[in-house]
Amino acid sequence: MNQRAAVIGIGQTYHKSKRDDVSIAGMLREAAQRALDDAGLTYEDIDAVVIGKAPDMFEGIMMPEHYLAAALGAVGKPMLRVHTAGSVGGSTAIVASHLVANGIHKRVLTVAFEKQSDSDAMWALSVPQPFSAPLLAGAGGYFAPIIRAYMKRSGAPNDVGMKVAVKDRLHALNNPYAHLQIPDISLKMVEESVMLWDPLHYLESCPSSDGAAAMVIGNEAAADQAEADTGRKPAWIHGMAMRSEPTMFAGRNQVNPQAGRDCAADVYAQAGITNPRAEFDCAEVYVPFSWYEPMWLENLGFCDEGDGWKLTESGATTFGTGDIPWNCSGGVLSSNPIGASGMLRFLEAALQVRGLAGAHQVEDARKALGQAYGGGSQFFAMWVVGSDKP
């Protein structure tokens, strides 16, 4: 970063399985307008727009940034469209933030979305290419064997995933934007839900959602001005990083991927973090299947390898009682508009350090981690945000 950059406006939609009351543009404009309102700005104040989403086939629009340009106030401005698989929401925020941190623009609007109900997303993902292996496992079937490998390596008991599933759904009850609102969620309910991909129960998997997320990124002058105008604090970006590794290769550690460890090391170095568990007040981490919480606890260095499940089991990651609450918003397990899911992690981390998370606000949160991953755990994007200027 050549100069300071901060999140000065945040907006998201109420995530649902079907937003059948809006067009795609209308859905994005809800999130974008909320972010502009939060920053005390209008579209005219924005210098550039960066959008992100997962495969175009989900909505059946090729390179939809063109159709969406006027909806997002991008006419006459630079506009970019990022696609890095599931990590895209995070990488999109990073691309937008680079434009500000590297001195190109003063204020950039970034929006990520998915309107999965326009198609059947799981179907769109599983279009068999000719000559490819026959369809065997479906979406979760890719990750379930990796989870089993984690269980074997770490010796974790079978119920850790179910505990994460309950915890994140309880968290979601404090977040009015979260898709899944299951007031009576319990271990018993998770255990009795269908075993989709053994060892994964139905309630240990993420939902399919329609939704959008938006942020306004501003430079120091823009951030100071927004704070003076609105009385709301910005979230200062202390570090951001992306890492990729090949999808499959001999000896690849899919349980604890090197790209994730390297990405964390990079972003921690930028932000001066040496002990993530102690120095972060909370984290928003991409956990689409319950067991990815203990796996990412290890990958992100919140504990030693093999100890992630112990941290989860101890309640350390629970909002209100744990010392390092994860996914206070309810996380991907509660809302999953795929292309926006990564940006929601980044956005929720920023909300926390701005003190604006409402009922799921972690008391006096000053530093938070946002993480997104995609593909077969080979694409990573992370940022560290704080209440104070870096």
Partner: protein, 165 residues
Amino acid sequence: MSEAREPVTMLSTPIHLDYHFVAGDSQSKTLQGYLEGKFIGQRCEVCGKVYVPSRGSCPTDGAPAREVVELPNTGTMTTYCVVNVPFAGQNVEIPYICGQILLDGSNISFMGLIQEIPASEVRMGMRVEAVWVPEEELTPSLASVRYFRPTGEPDADYDSYKEYL
């Protein structure tokens, strides 16, 4: 207009696209192998690791992997899951086992169907072998392998496959 009708709120836009898919030289080697009832991989000219299916390059070295290697029918199932969810395009009755198969002499696992064993007896490290469809049903696809089944050999030592999970 004859009578007031409900407003239109949804638009159906079917999209049908035709493509002509081409496998490319390297992938075609493996596909040709399936057609002949055998596994074909390729060895990286830098690190020497064997990839199956073949794809012409080594993902870690970015180097060509052209040397053709015929692999045996046997391997180790490194990890697995039990699929109990119906989804579009599925061609096996649920529940069933999906295993990661590491063929002997190769350095990458791929997903395969496991049969001839109850789900409760499946375990990581199990030794398996491919059961091919009858010769007249062979196609240039992994579908030529009907499934993998246990060989009855002792399970592989965890250390022998722990890097291929």
